[in-house]
Symmetry: C2
Subunit: 212 residues, 2 copies
DNA sequence: TCCTTTCGGATAGTAGAACTATCTACTGTA
DNA sequence: TACAGTAGATAGTTCTACTATCCGAAAGGA
């Protein structure tokens, strides 16, 4: 049951055989154990990895190259547990970091990080990502007011506490790492979906007149 | 100053002329006012629209087809203001709705919506998007616990209140609509970037031993 | 043992998205 | 009148994520 060939791996995962071969080539999936020149055996670990890859691409929307990057950190040998989470999370691209921010936006992003006591190292790519988003607000003629930015930051601190709490239950280190990756990448999609629903609700609450 | 030809529009927006022509073909940008068979004039409105398009694609990561969809709602004539925001927000794809959820996940998503009193219409695509994300958590072997889901929902309600508050300052209806679009699409990227930073901070706080 | 099926690995081809380049006919301006 | 600039059309490019074929070899049933 636990040992299978590629056809069964394909059937159980729902991923076509040629796509599995593609993932093998791209290094998203470890090669099976070769029993002869043209026979390899795959196990439950391959099946789980395949599910992870599909979740990151389909739900998380990560490009294949980014998935490889992230999985390299999942697979990396861990010498110490010290701030390992931080380094793994650094490897996950902030989704939409295109568009170069200007000095103005970068300074504002760094100021927010400082004011909230998020003393991350200043070359964190997420700071630049934040600046790029602020630049987007400004360039479209809808600059984000300071008050709102702070309130978003407060809400997000609450989110981050939940993020870290979800990892508490787990004992195994490998599981914690994978849980952090899943929680971070799928979490963005989760928050986006929940946000749409909460926006609709809040919008309806404030609408003058009747319900709906 | 306000009236220009395509070369100046390109220079001021930073978007190459062939790309502007491509956006014109795709209907992301209104055609300029034709003064003869091969001369058109563009104005400040075109410049702002171009900035909006680039923000939605580069920062928000929306595909061109989705941008066209969204802008159709921005441009639509508004007969009434009633729950107009809700309908505009519906048009924005929840980013990563691939991967079909199963009955189990759909039921859980609907249950959450009901429990929190988010009485949206049950065919809201965001509900299905939420279910798809929950399916991703489950299939990777990291199912999201009920407690955590509820805590995310609470945080997101706070976010939605900020979202709606950012629109209060504005008088003009067109500006409100555009602000809602920008706030929703760029907001996802904003929250993702802030979340990475807050995660790093929270992770460092909980790490045993020294700082960093 | 023979024979059909399946396999691993390599190479090549495909579909869609987002541009980018070229072409033609025309035109405002120096 | 020469010429750089323009609108609109069509065709080509680049990148990503697959998908299809091929080959030689091994597996598995009759």
């Amino acid at each position: 049951m636990g040992v299978m060939r590629i056809a069964e791996l394909s059937e159980r995962s729902g991923v076509p055989v040629p796509t599995i071969k593609y993932y093998l080539r791209e290094g998203l999936l470890h090669r099976g154990e070769l029993t002869s020149r043209n026979q390899a055996r795959y196990g439950e670990a391959h099946l789980r990895r395949l599910s992870l890859v599909r979740a990151l691409t389909d739900v998380g929307g990560l490009p294949v190259a980014a998935v490889r990057e992230v999985l390299a950190h999942v697979d990396a040998p861990r010498s110490s547990t010290h701030n390992l989470l931080g380094r793994v999370l650094d490897a996950i691209p902030p989704a939409g970091q295109d568009g170069s921010p200007e000095e103005e936006d970068l300074a504002r992003a760094q100021e927010l990080v400082r004011d909230r006591g998020w003393n991350c190292h200043p070359d964190d790519p997420a700071v630049e990502g934040l600046a790029a988003v602020l630049a987007g607000y400004r360039r479209t003629g809808h600059p984000l007011g300071e008050e709102y930015l702070v309130r978003y930051a407060e809400a997000v601190e609450q989110v981050a506490r939940v993020d870290l709490d979800t990892l508490r239950d787990t004992e195994e280190l490998d599981e914690i790492i994978e849980g952090a990756v899943v929680g971070t990448v799928l979490g963005d999609a989760l928050l986006a979906a929940l946000r749409r629903l909460a926006q609709s609700r809040e919008s309806a609450l404030r609408a003058p007149g009747r319900e709906n």
